[in-house]
């Protein structure tokens, strides 16, 4: 058998897409299922029938259950602990303590990199932090009861909850072990142009302060994990969006476990939108379960309870000071912003990045001061671009209001990239193969028509409805993104017997319907029915895809799937024309003798000769069975088994395994790696009750230029789902702490209110397809956009209604009443 076509044109195609800093150079011309409406999602029946299994559902014979001790204080060290009563309780099988010699060193338990963190710390930096003890028992209830018997001697430390107070001189240290010198972990500066020059060029200057409260992911499935030792093989189930990082970390534990001895399962994920998966401590429970499993000889599941899922929050929490210079025609000349952020584990995503990447504003500066208080850490939670999106939104809407201009006009006027105008940007599009379309204008036109902008938009505070309610309209925009760098690996093969296609690539399914989208790509590229393709994503098969975060599913994995499918098709056609082998007894001849691979094509699962489509064979017939059902010859070389199958036109198969693997590399979009061309535009209509402060969202129109729709349900689901999440973030969601005790007051779903079916108005989702995305076929990510851009639009909408700015989010009724002087 010849080697796979490593030097083929198809191979070169894959290399051409690496870095994907240009338009897809090898698009597919005919789409059968890509972009088709009505494609049923692969996970639909499983999830609708309750058959879908999540890590929390794992039940194993003899399995034990583990729970953490949590701190009652916002900042305290453990100076003594008596676990003897817990250890004696019936049903308790193991108690791990913070002073266990096996837990003395830091281990890699992060959702990001191989860090070194104590899995069971001896103190807490926020109330509710897991520390001190890990009780393993026959049931969750017994473990819970045992925790109550543990006597802890705490040494309380001073605590702070306000990020600006944390930066005052002489403030007590909130994280003295991690940050012994001050409560600020880092300063991150962004500079583009010369802001002082920009302010000097401005006709007017405006300044404002805004803030965003601490909100969180609220994952339906509690954080959890399961560990079972099968001899010296480790079998692990993770609730983690990044299974490849989990396996890499696990391989460093307990003196090192060879990767080949780790069986990793990444079942369906009860979503946490990045969030929990990003935490630098999120594999600690799994590590402790592994240790406890070793000591007890039984499988161990650990889980948080609902309140403990409020472990950390979204990294948009903070206080922000903005200064804007602008001309009287609406041209913005400079923006500077200083932020004091709350407990950012990764304060490197900037606060003015979207202004730089997305506008012709020439002079921009941002300064992020990452302060730490005694709350849980904050991480990207759909997503790290929150602050950048809120900033762009509020800058444009404040300037429009100050000038009495339409915010849509101001936005179109300032659209561009990296301080350059649209003419410059269009030249860049043409250079790298994109059509020079005006994405923002396309989005705006559709959105304005859908919401009736030209008829309904009015000056702030100018429209009172019958009954005294005030009517408001708002608009914001930014670019689309797929930001992460990384690699994706995809394996793909034809199954024996029926030639159905299995795609291998371990990844977490968080519900964005990506697996269906990948199957659509494979089906169209291979020329097989969609129903015969499956993405087997939950089991570690040695191929690691990019994670579902940072909207990079399609932008990276889509390329790898596309390349794998093209290689697989090429391989199939090469095998089809070759003599497949000769033995002493028989020859396995070519299925298409005398032809070359390029003479053949595949459609509907059938290989055919292009010049004579009647010369054809189904892939299933060609591939045939394997093993003991494979080709069998008699002593004279006569095939006598497979030839006897009824209706089989081509008895002697003996095909090699038809398998291919492909990969993709993307260096990421951050920091000017590549220009952004696709835009998104959102419109909102609200009513404000000035007696109660209640804000009702009447309608939201989301317009996303996704470049090219692969899967409609996926795109639209992310848009309207994101809109609903965004409404919650902007209006009701805020974690509240008691300022006297530092205790979290609303770590539950009764008092931390996420939207219900009656908390939003009409939502209209519109997709624009300019094919200016860097993903395959011109696509671009959509997973994070709407939920990230929309929350702060509540502010301009309420301002347009009542004529008063409320820049402190979430905009709750009490804040509205306070703005109206009625609180």
């Amino acid at each position: 058998m010849s080697e796979p076509p490593r030097k083929s044109d198809v191979w070169q195609e894959m290399l051409d897409s690496f870095d994907n800093k240009i338009a897809d150079p090898h698009p597919l011309r005919n789409y059968e299922v890509i972009g088709k409406r009505g494609v049923r999602r692969n996970d639909g029946v499983e999830k609708a029938t309750g058959a879908a299994r999540y890590t929390i559902d794992v039940q194993l014979p003899g399995m034990l259950f583990a729970r953490f001790l949590t701190s009652p204080y916002p900042h305290a060290d453990i100076v003594g602990m008596d676990t003897s009563e817990a250890e004696k309780m019936p049903g308790v099988r193991c108690v791990l303590r913070y002073d266990d010699p096996d837990l003395a060193e830091g281990v890699a338990v992060s959702g990001h990199e191989l860090n070194a963190v104590l899995a069971l710390p001896g103190g807490a930096k926020f109330q509710g932090e897991e520390c001190g003890a890990f009780v393993v028992a026959d049931s969750e209830e017994i473990a819970e009861n045992a925790l109550k018997t543990i006597k802890v001697e705490w040494a309380q430390r001073p605590f702070l909850l306000d990020v600006e107070k944390a930066l005052e001189p002489g403030a007590p240290l909130t994280h003295p072990h991690e940050f012994p010198d001050s409560n600020m972990s880092m300063v991150y500066n962004e500079n583009h142009g010369d802001v002082e020059k920009g302010f000097a060029e401005a006709d007017k200057i405006l300044e404002f302060k805004w803030s965003f409260g601490y909100n969180t992911w609220v994952g339906p499935e509690r954080p959890c994990g399961v560990w079972r030792w099968n001899g010296d093989f480790a079998e692990v189930w993770v609730k983690q969006q990044r299974p490849h990082i989990a396996k890499r970390a696990i391989s460093t534990w307990f003196g090192g476990i060879p990767m080949c001895k780790i069986d990793l399962h990444c079942p369906y994920q009860g979503a946490s939108f990045g969030g929990w998966s990003q935490m630098s401590w999120n594999l600690a429970g799994t590590h402790l379960a592994g240790l406890a499993s070793k000591r007890t000889g039984r499988p161990v599941k650990w889980a948080f309870n609902r309140r403990e899922d409020f472990y950390g929050g979204n990294m948009d929490a903070g206080v922000f000071y903005v200064k804007v210079g602008y001309k009287l025609d609406g041209t913005i000349t400079a923006v500077s912003q200083r932020a004091v952020t709350c407990n950012q584990d990764m304060a490197v995503f900037g606060i003015v990045a979207h202004l730089i990447e997305n506008t012709k504003i020439p002079h921009i500066a941002g300064r992020t001061e990452a302060a730490w208080v005694n709350k849980g850490p904050t991480v990207p939670t759909r997503c790290e671009m929150n602050i950048n999106c809120y900033t762009l939104n509020l800058v444009f809407n404040h300037v429009a209001d100050a000038l009495g201009m339409n915010p849509v006009t101001i936005s179109l006027l300032n659209d561009g990239a990296e301080g350059r105008d649209m003419e410059w940007l269009n030249e860049r599009k043409a250079e790298i193969g994109f059509p020079p379309r005006d994405s923002l204008k396309a989005c705006v036109d559709k959105g304005k028509a859908a919401i009736g902008w030209d008829e309904k938009w009015h000056a702030p505070g100018a429209k009172t409805l019958a009954g005294g309610r005030m009517h408001g309209m708002a608009f914001t925009w930014t670019h689309e993104w797929d930001d992460s760098g990384g690699t994706s690996e995809i394996g793909m093969y034809f199954e024996r017997n029926d030639a159905s296609v299995t795609i291998l690539g371990c990844r977490a399914d968080v519900g964005v319907n990506a697996e269906t989208a990948y199957c659509q790509i494979a089906a169209d590229e291979l020329g097989v029915p969609l129903e015969s393709v499956r993405f087997k994503h939950q089991e570690d098969a040695g191929f690691y895809t990019m994670t579902p975060d940072t909207s990079t599913n399609l932008a990276i994995n889509g390329w790898a799937v596309k390349s794998a499918a093209r290689l697989l098709k090429q391989r199939l056609l090469e095998v089809a024309v070759q003599v497949r082998g000769r033995t002493q007894l028989a020859e396995y001849p070519s299925a298409f003798p005398g032809l070359q691979p390029e003479d053949l094509d595949v459609k509907d699962g059938v290989i055919f000769e292009k010049a004579d489509p009647s010369n054809s064979m189904s892939i299933a017939d060609f591939i045939g069975p394997g093993g003991a059902n494979g080709p069998v010859s008699g002593t004279a070389g006569e095939p006598f088994f497979t030839s006897q199958e009824e209706g089989l036109a081509y008895p002697m198969r003996g095909t090699p395994p038809i398998f291919e693997a492909a990969w993709h590399i993307q260096r990421g979009c951050y920091l000017g790696v590549r220009l952004r061309f696709c835009r998104q535009a959102y419109f909102m209509e609200v009513e404000v009750d000035t007696e109660t402060g209640q804000v009702d969202v009447l309608k939201v129109v989301t317009v996303n230029d996704v470049g090219k729709v692969i899967n409609w349900d996926g795109c639209e689901g992310q848009a309207y789902g994101g809109a609903i999440m965004g409404i919650g973030r902007g209006m009701t969601e805020e974690v509240v702490w008691d300022p006297r005790t530092g205790v979290m007051l609303n770590g539950n779903l009764l008092n931390y209110r996420i939207p219900t079916m009656m908390d939003y108005g009409e939502i209209e989702t519109i997709m624009v397809e300019t094919q200016m995305g860097y993903g395959p076929y011109g696509s671009i990510g959509i997973g994070e956009d709407v939920a990230t851009v929309l929350p702060a639009l509540i502010g301009p909408a309420v301002q347009n209604a009542i004529g008063i700015w409320i820049d402190d989010f979430p905009i709750t009724p009490d804040r509205v009443l306070a703005a109206l002087g009625k609180a």
């Binding site: 999602r41 639909g44 058959a51 019936p90 979503a271 609902r306 779903l749 009409e762 997709m767």
Partner: protein, 184 residues
């Protein structure tokens, strides 16, 4: 008969109850503080009933008890002695039109809350075969979906109701309903 480990060790008082779950009769030894949700998922292995909020605020653990939708995390198993319970697994086994409609309209994202929605919707359609959109919203408002799939549910429930009434076939034309799917 299910016997808990703690019973063997004599730690707790125990009760024997009978539950008819999806047409199957189970005699169970339970501790008095066990919730119905815990018994269904951990003792009977019916993990389609999900725990999300664990305090009656989200509807993910919904089951139908003697014809009425209840939150199984808020019911003690001993309260249900003699009761007839329908879970998502039973609804699926009966091939209720809601299942197909939920798949067709892509009502799930992460899918964790989806079974609870279908159970609540099934109870709605049992008592009201032709609900208005407002009646659907009122019935479903106690079911939380963090992914924000709500608009799709309105379409699916409306269509399933029409299928049950024989107005359209399971493969028939979509019932019209408000929702999130705009079209370019």
């Amino acid at each position: 008969m299910e016997v808990s480990i703690s019973e063997k060790e004599g730690a707790k008082s125990l009760d024997v109850i009978t539950l008819n779950v999806n047409g199957e009769v189970h005699q169970l030894v339970v501790e008095p503080q066990w919730t119905l949700q815990y018994v269904l998922t951990d003792k009977l292995g019916l993990t389609g009933t999900k725990e999300f909020c664990a305090e009656g605020a989200c509807g993910a653990c919904s089951v139908i008890l003697d014809g009425h939708p209840v939150l199984s995390c808020m019911m003690l198993a001993i309260e249900c002695d003699g009761g007839t319970i329908e879970t998502i697994e039973g609804i699926a086994r009966a091939n209720h039109p809601l299942i197909d409609a939920y798949v067709k309209y892509s009502c799930m994202q992460c899918g964790f809350c989806t079974p609870g929605f279908i159970v609540t919707a099934k109870a709605l359609l049992d008592r009201n075969p032709d609900p208005t959109l407002d009646e659907i919203k009122e019935a479903m408002v106690g079911n939380l979906c963090r992914c924000g799939t709500y608009p799709a549910h309105l379409r699916a429930i409306t269509e399933a109701a029409a299928v049950l009434r024989g107005v359209v076939s399971a493969q028939g034309t979509p019932a019209s309903a408000e929702g999130g799917a705009g079209h370019e």
